[in-house]
Amino acid sequence: MNSANDITQVIPQAADYVRILPEIVLAIFGMIVMVLDPLVDERRSQKTLGTIALVGSLAALVATLFQAQYPGLGFWNMVRVDSFSVFFHFLVAAVTAVVILTSYEYMQVQEIRAGEYYALVLLGALGMSLMSSAVELVLIFIALEISSISTYILAGFRQRAAISSESSVKYFLLGSFATAFFLYGVALMFGATGSTSIAVIGDVLRSGHIPVLAYVGVALMFVGLGFKVAAAPFHVWTPDVYEGAPAPVVGFMSTAPKAAVFAVLLRIMFEADAPGRVWLIWVVAALSMTLGNIGALVQDNVKRLLAYSSIAHAGYLLVAFAALPKNGIPAAMFYTASYAAMNVGAFAVISHIGGKGERYVTLEDYEGLGRRSPLLAATLTIFLLSLIGIPITGGFFAKFYVFSAALQANLVGLVIIGVLNSAVASYYYLRLIVVMYMREAREEVPVSPIPFGLGAALAISLVATIYLGVLPGRVLEYAARSVGELVR
């Protein structure tokens, strides 16, 4: 009797597998792509493998919806399916699908072999999905590594461009360093509380005396995660890596892994009730907003410009972490979703305009785009307006929720810094709009017609951006459900 009980405890049940169903789906499709790569004809591999990968990401989406009906813990309390994890699973899978759609054309134009690329995108998505449902620090670490290693490689995929390899190496070296910090923090946290389970850590920390070690542990984990979301002062890698990496990959890694890391941060900060978070976050958020926006003011390369902008947006998002859980968690979740929609879209446009070898990525190359390709220009304008935070775009409500959450926590100073920063930011986004509409092209930059895949990617991100801007209520209500799950 007793031994039978033991066996059921070490053998995973069917329910356990449901709890990681999207991850299983992504792994299977990733491996299919990898195995098929040498078998299909090289010229046609692009289409076939891309389609398989797209099906894989959509299947993960469906798996997520299926999984959502069976919330609960699995695998010895290491993963938890709840509305929080479902939200991020959905987001990651959707971003992956859009990125794959964008990559179709890009890979063809850049003459990059498709096989490993799509496999890595799917496996990266696996890591990111797992990060949002893992509730145990060691598993989180493993998921973080899965996601990071695939993005390191993806960043170097423009093999013909030295700058891409540079970006990959830089990202890898600094990234490994940061992950080490995270691991160190996990170890200290274990030392301080005797557990790596976030729920247990939360209980210990709430129960009374907080050891100094816990503060150090939180700080070190925050360094590691802060690097991944490109928050100042851990942001220096961002512009170089974004400049060198392939544009669709930048669209991917500036949204999906970031969303996943923010999910981890939310769990650590709110569920484990990390000590000393408000001031830590206050300083980092203020720094990120300010340094990101000031850096972006002087950029002439569109990819670098958006790199700095992503630093600033990480700052806005972190503001929500300093707020009370009741408003802060939904605000942060909404922000990740709307930022993903607008940024993936913006990079889809950039990857199309870049052309062969990504030659056209400076502001000058965008001159007169409003005339040469009115549709692309209008689409990019909407994404940029959303990044500024103009009403009826998702970006507006994202900022709105974050700032009002902060105001309700009486963080007036931080809100003022944030509001002033958004005013500064409007300048550099506007510069791009001005260039597109108000200047004539100096030299003829060719713009090829929009292929179907890219059109679909743009349409999805556009609809998402506008939807979040016109009817934000439903998404926010869904996000608000996770408050009860994270804070008990």
Binding site: R371, L385, I390, P391, I392, F400, Y401, F403, S404, L407, Q408, V415, I416, V419, L420, S422, A423, S426, Y427, L430, R431, V434, Y437, M438, R439, L471, P472, G473, L476, E477, A480
Partner: protein, 503 residues
């Protein structure tokens, strides 16, 4: 209240937007596009006349209200309604837009489709600003005016258009951030964006820690509006924007966009923060007076006709601010009346300047002279509008300025005296400009053969001349709706005054 009354404001606001969307699908046949834009804007004007016709003049409070839930979290309502002040501003907008279409008929010949799309979008946003009663909705429309206006200036403007467009955008954008912060604060404390509910909450003292925050909130709103008006130290974007803007852009900019600022002061600064308005009034009035005199003096020395009119706007809008912060019935009535009169006559002046530019491609006063000889009809219209703008009795400018000045006198005599010099200044610069452009001998041979007004141009100018005259002769048609609205705004001030007396 019939069903039509309920949906009227929605219709008037969104018909231009629907027109713009339809234009998107139009083939690029410029003539059809222009005609369609004209039809849409005329339709909107005719519909908007429903408002003054069915407006209950004796009634205070908002009319033609619609109030539906738009988003539940945050608690945003689709709440629209007009009182006597905003109703006339809506009609002013719908009145000027068809004229803008007419005046741009020939002068815009590239990217015609985009031009009229932007114009119609701008119109929709402007109307939205005046009818929104939910602070969020208001802020949304407020920001939404920025983009089409900046694009109109930046794409269709003259040489330094990009500089002017960016300056315009940044100035107003940065300023409205402060308003957004203030709105967010109010929402955080009251849980609603509804103007009427917030107003009630403030009056009943239900807003937590309001006393400490109120001066900052007042300033937050005030800066956004002050830049838009523009009040003296914040005015530098205006001449640039005007000089570079295409004619239709200038007409809407001077005619309606600037009134967003003064309307905002009247509705939000006075409506939400009566105490702070009272205590800050002195320096605001001083700035308004500086604006009146400074704007007039700078206008006098402008060699550029359009810049002259732009500075005259600064001067005239000074009167509006003066009237608003005099907190007298006369002053506020007058301020509203100046808003409308200035919209009509300055709109007409910009159209007239644009007509000249179409023929000669210059705004320099020195390039003209003796134009009355080749263009007699044009000269007559110009004189009529100049006189209206100067404030000749029996024309529209006089009524408003007279009311404002008598209100200012009641508040403090010195304000009235300094303000009154503004009327003299405006006569100086406008008439002097008129003399240099139209009288004397024709100094440049090219000007001899300039064609007089065409039928289309007459169609654009005639309505403004007629309205200028009617507004001057029968001001009560307008004032009987404005008066109750102003009384509502002033009600807390009367209580304030009686409280002070009781003390």
């Amino acid at each position: 209240m019939t069903g039509l009354d309920n949906s009227m404001l929605t219709l008037v606001t969104f018909i231009p937007l629907a027109g713009a969307l339809l234009l998107l699908l139009f083939p690029r046949r410029d003539r059809d596009i222009r005609l369609f834009a004209l039809v849409v804007s005329l339709l909107d004007f005719i519909l908007s006349l429903h408002l003054p016709v069915h407006f209950q003049r004796a009634q205070t409070g908002f009319q033609f209200e619609v109030n539906n839930l738009w988003i539940s979290n945050p608690n945003i309502h689709y709440h629209m309604g007009v009182d006597g002040v905003s109703m006339w501003l809506v009609v002013l907008t719908t009145f000027l837009t068809p004229l803008c279409v007419l005046i741009s008929w020939k002068s815009v010949h590239e990217r015609v489709k985009e031009f009229f799309i932007l114009l119609l979008v701008l119109q929709a946003a402007l109307i939205g600003v005046f009818v929104a009663l939910d602070l969020f909705l208001f802020y949304f429309f407020w920001e939404a005016t920025l983009i089409p206006m900046a694009l109109l200036i930046g794409i269709y403007g003259h040489e330094r258009r990009v500089y002017a467009a960016v300056k315009f955008f940044l100035y107003t954008m940065v300023a409205s951030m402060f308003m957004l912060a203030a709105i967010l604060w109010l929402y955080a404390k009251t849980g609603t964006f509804d103007f009427v509910s917030i107003q009630a909450a403030i009056r009943n003292g239900q807003v937590e820690s309001f006393v400490g925050a109120a001066p900052w909130l007042f300033l937050g709103f005030f800066i956004a509006f002050a830049v838009k008006v523009p009040i003296f130290p914040f005015h530098t974007w205006l001449p640039d924007a005007h000089v570079e803007a295409p004619t239709a852009g200038s007409v809407l900019l001077a005619g309606v966009l600037l009134k967003m600022g003064t309307y905002g002061m009247l509705r939000f600064n006075l409506g939400l923060f009566p105490d702070q308005s009272r205590s800050n009034a002195w320096w605001i009035m001083v700035l308004a007076l500086i604006g009146i005199v400074y704007g007039a003096l700078v206008a006098m020395v402008q060699p550029n006709m359009k810049k002259l009119i732009a500075y005259s706007s600064i001067s005239h809008l000074g009167f509006v601010v003066l009237g608003i912060f005099s907190f007298t019935q006369l002053g506020l009535d007058g301020a509203t009346y100046v808003m409308l009169a200035h919209g009509v006559s300055t709109g007409a002046l910009f159209m007239l300047a644009g007509i000249l530019y179409e023929r000669r491609h210059t705004y320099e006063i020195a390039d003209f002279g003796g134009l009355a000889t080749p263009m007699p009809v044009y000269a007559t219209f110009f004189l009529f509008i100049v006189l209206a703008s100067v404030g000749l009795p029996l024309l529209n400018g006089f009524i408003g300025e007279f009311l404002v000045l008598s209100g200012a006198f009641r508040d403090r005599a010195v304000y009235g005296i300094v303000g009154a010099t503004g009327v003299i200044w405006s006569a100086c610069y406008l008439l002097w400009m008129y003399q240099r452009v139209f009288f004397g001998k024709v100094t440049h041979q090219v000007n001899l053969s300039l064609p007089d007004l065409s039928g289309r141009e007459r169609a654009a100018i005639w309505p403004t001349a007629v309205v200028a005259l009617v507004m001057g002769v029968a001001p009560l048609l307008w004032l009987n709706a404005i008066d109750p609205a102003v009384q509502t705004v002033l009600a807390p001030f009367a209580q304030l005054a009686s409280k002070m007396v009781a003390r």
